[in-house]
Structures are given as structure tokens and as C-alpha cells.
Symmetry: C2
Subunit: 213 residues, 2 copies
């Protein structure tokens, strides 16, 4: 009598945990939190539902573990990338690190961008990107003050940059004609760098609502 699943029979607890994290990540990535059922995860892993509960306590537990690991991954990479070098090198390093993460773990990235369970949502923005932007904002605030720019505007730029990279990253993973990481990173970094470098001290609109100057 043949085995029911493709190769993995009975697994040790740690191996099963690892497998469930992998499977869970991809299911959450493609369905979103709410639309994911524990049964589907169990089925794709070739086991039955209670095993998931045994290892992670439930849907939220598994989700929390998955998110936590992804955050570790991406934050680690970025922190390392910005740990040394000139400002421009750090900017490029961060962009490259981010996009490399996106490339290597598209599922994880998708989970981070998607909806969190209703119980953990603060506003609507996925917490990670928000935190990331806040950190960048802190760095910017300091630099802006030093350079004589309006420090209150720093968060705007921080969120703009994070949004830029995140959005491009998402488009890039879904795009068929995908240019190499270095290329994408260099374009983004150039845009951001030049933008910041040539920023006027006190930006103002040329046009005002309705009439032009």
C-alpha cells in the first residue's frame, strides 16, 4: 500500500515545525490572513489539523511565528547594510538589502505587506513598514537638523523612501521582465539620493489650488 504523501512521512517535532512555517508562509502570502484556513495549511503539509494546533496553538500563533521570522530576516539585513560607509553607500546598501530580501523571500515579503489579523492591527499599515519608516525618520530628523532643513518634514521623506522601495519591490516580484537586483537598486538609490541632495531648504508649490503663479 502506497504512502499518502509525496515523500515526507512522520517527522520529528522540530522538522514538522519548520515545514509548517514554510507552508504557512506561502498560504498566508497567497490568500491573506483572513482567507487562510488552518485546514488548507495542514492539507498542503500532508497532515491533519490538530498537528498545527499542537505546535503553534492556532492560526494566530503560527502567523505570529512566521511574521517574527520575516522581520528578523529583513531587519537584520538592513541593519547590516547601513552599519558603515558614506551616507550614499548606506542608502544604496539599504535599497539593495531590501530588494535582495524581496527577491529571495517573495512569500515572506507578501505576508509582511498584507493584512494582519484584526486583533493585532493598530491602524491599517502593516506594522513592519511603519516601524521601518519611523527608524529612517529618526535618522533623517537628525541629519535634517544638522543641515539646516526643516526637521519636522523628515518623517515625510522617510515614509516616502520606504514606500518607494516597498512598492517597487512588490511590482518587481510580480513583473515578468525582471531586471537584476543591482539595476533596480541603483535606479531607486539614484532617485532618492539626487532628490535629497538637491532638495530646497523650504520646498513650496509652484501651483496653488485653482490658480497658477
Amino acid at each position: 500500500m502506497p504512502k499518502k504523501e509525496g515523500g515526507s512521512g512522520r517527522l520529528a517535532a522540530s522538522a514538522r515545525r519548520a515545514q509548517l512555517v514554510d507552508v504557512g508562509r506561502s498560504v498566508f502570502a497567497e490568500r491573506g490572513y483572513e482567507a487562510t484556513s488552518v485546514e488548507e495549511i495542514a492539507e498542503r503539509a500532508g497532515i491533519s489539523k490538530p498537528i498545527v494546533y499542537e505546535h503553534f496553538g492556532g492560526k494566530e500563533g503560527l502567523y505570529a511565528v512566521i511574521v517574527d521570522r520575516e522581520v528578523e530576516h529583513i531587519v537584520g539585513r538592513i541593519v547590516e547594510a547601513i552599519s558603515s560607509g558614506s551616507p550614499r553607500e548606506r542608502l544604496e546598501g539599504a535599497a539593495l538589502a531590501f530588494l535582495t530580501y524581496v527577491k529571495e523571500r517573495p512569500g515572506g515579503f507578501a505576508v509582511l505587506l498584507r493584512d494582519a489579523p484584526a486583533s493585532k492591527r493598530s491602524g491599517e499599515m502593516p506594522a513592519l513598514m511603519y516601524d521601518l519608516a519611523d527608524r529612517v525618520g529618526a535618522i533623517f530628523t537628525e541629519q535634517f537638523r544638522k543641515a539646516g532643513y526643516d526637521a519636522k518634514a523628515a518623517p515625510i521623506y522617510a515614509h516616502a523612501l520606504v514606500g518607494m522601495v516597498a512598492f517597487v519591490g512588490q511590482w518587481w516580484t510580480e513583473s515578468r521582465k525582471a531586471p537584476p537586483v543591482e539595476s533596480v537598486a541603483s535606479h531607486i538609490a539614484a532617485l532618492a539620493w539626487m532628490g535629497l541632495r538637491h532638495l530646497p531648504r523650504r520646498p513650496a508649490l509652484l501651483v496653488t489650488e485653482g490658480r497658477r503663479t
Copy 2:
């Protein structure tokens, strides 16, 4: 005997439809598509469930109407904003139009950024932002070619700009200390404009993975 609801008793069909679109938008905005129940919408509107089915045929029907109206709103505003003026004026106009929309209809914006029902999802990116970026990409491709830049990179910049504005918009609606629209728009437009204006013809990274030059 007091009326059960705060003021709206029996409504004409068209008024009820309008009310349900409003209520539905805010519920979808705060819960997301999957986590929203038709019952909650009905309850908040002060009516019972079958009325919703009578007017919109179901959850997806109502959702579709809401999304369609929001798309009309935002696209209309942006198209108008970029219809005339110098390139820089158009850029600023687009940023201002986008942010004004976000300010005036935060719920609608939230719906556009959130998950669509599983039945209509292509990839993972909400369709509107994707389309918007594609349109910007078309404009950029042409301009890049004229100016002697790498036209293949145009979509990267298009997505970067859209992501920038969308992300800042989201942060802005949730942020307590909210600067005025014009201020935010001017900062974003300045960043984007200066970035594009001073872009090298052939951007390259200073750093390469692991070693520095």
C-alpha cells in the same frame, strides 16, 4: 414608542443605496473585505440584512460599486490635475490631487489599498495603484526616450513615485500631527522632481555586494 435608529426611518431606494455605499465603505475600510460581514453593514445602517441583498445582490456587488466610485473619484481628480501646465506643475498637481483625495476620503483610500475579494485578485497588488503606476510609466517611457535616458528603467521610476505618494498618504491619514496638504505635497513633489531632474543617465551602484570600490 421611540424609533429604533438615530434619525433615518424608512428611506427611498436611491437614498438607501447611497447610505449603504457610505456605510459599506467605512466598514470595508476598517475591517478589510474578508473580515467584513454583511450583517455589520446592515446593522450600522440601521436595517436588516436582506435589504443589502436587494440593492446590491450581495457582498461582492456592494464592494464592486464602492470600489468603482472611488476609482472614478481619484482618477478624475488626477487626470484633471495633469491636463495642463509645465511638467513640474503637472507633477505637483498630481501629488496635490492625490493627497487631497486621501484627505477628503480616507475610507475610500483605505479600501483601494486593501485586499480585494479572492475572486477578483490578479496578483497581490490592488489593481488601481498598479494601473496608475502603469500610466505614469507610459508617460515616463516617452519622456525618457526623448531625453536620452534608459527607457527600460521608466517603469521603475513610475512605481517608485506612485509608491511614494501612496505610502505617504497612508501615513499621513493615520498620523496625529498632520501637516496641511500643500505642505506634504510640496515636499513630495520637490523630492521627486529634484530626483528626476538630477538623475544620471546611467545610474550605477557605488557599492557592490560584499566589497566596496
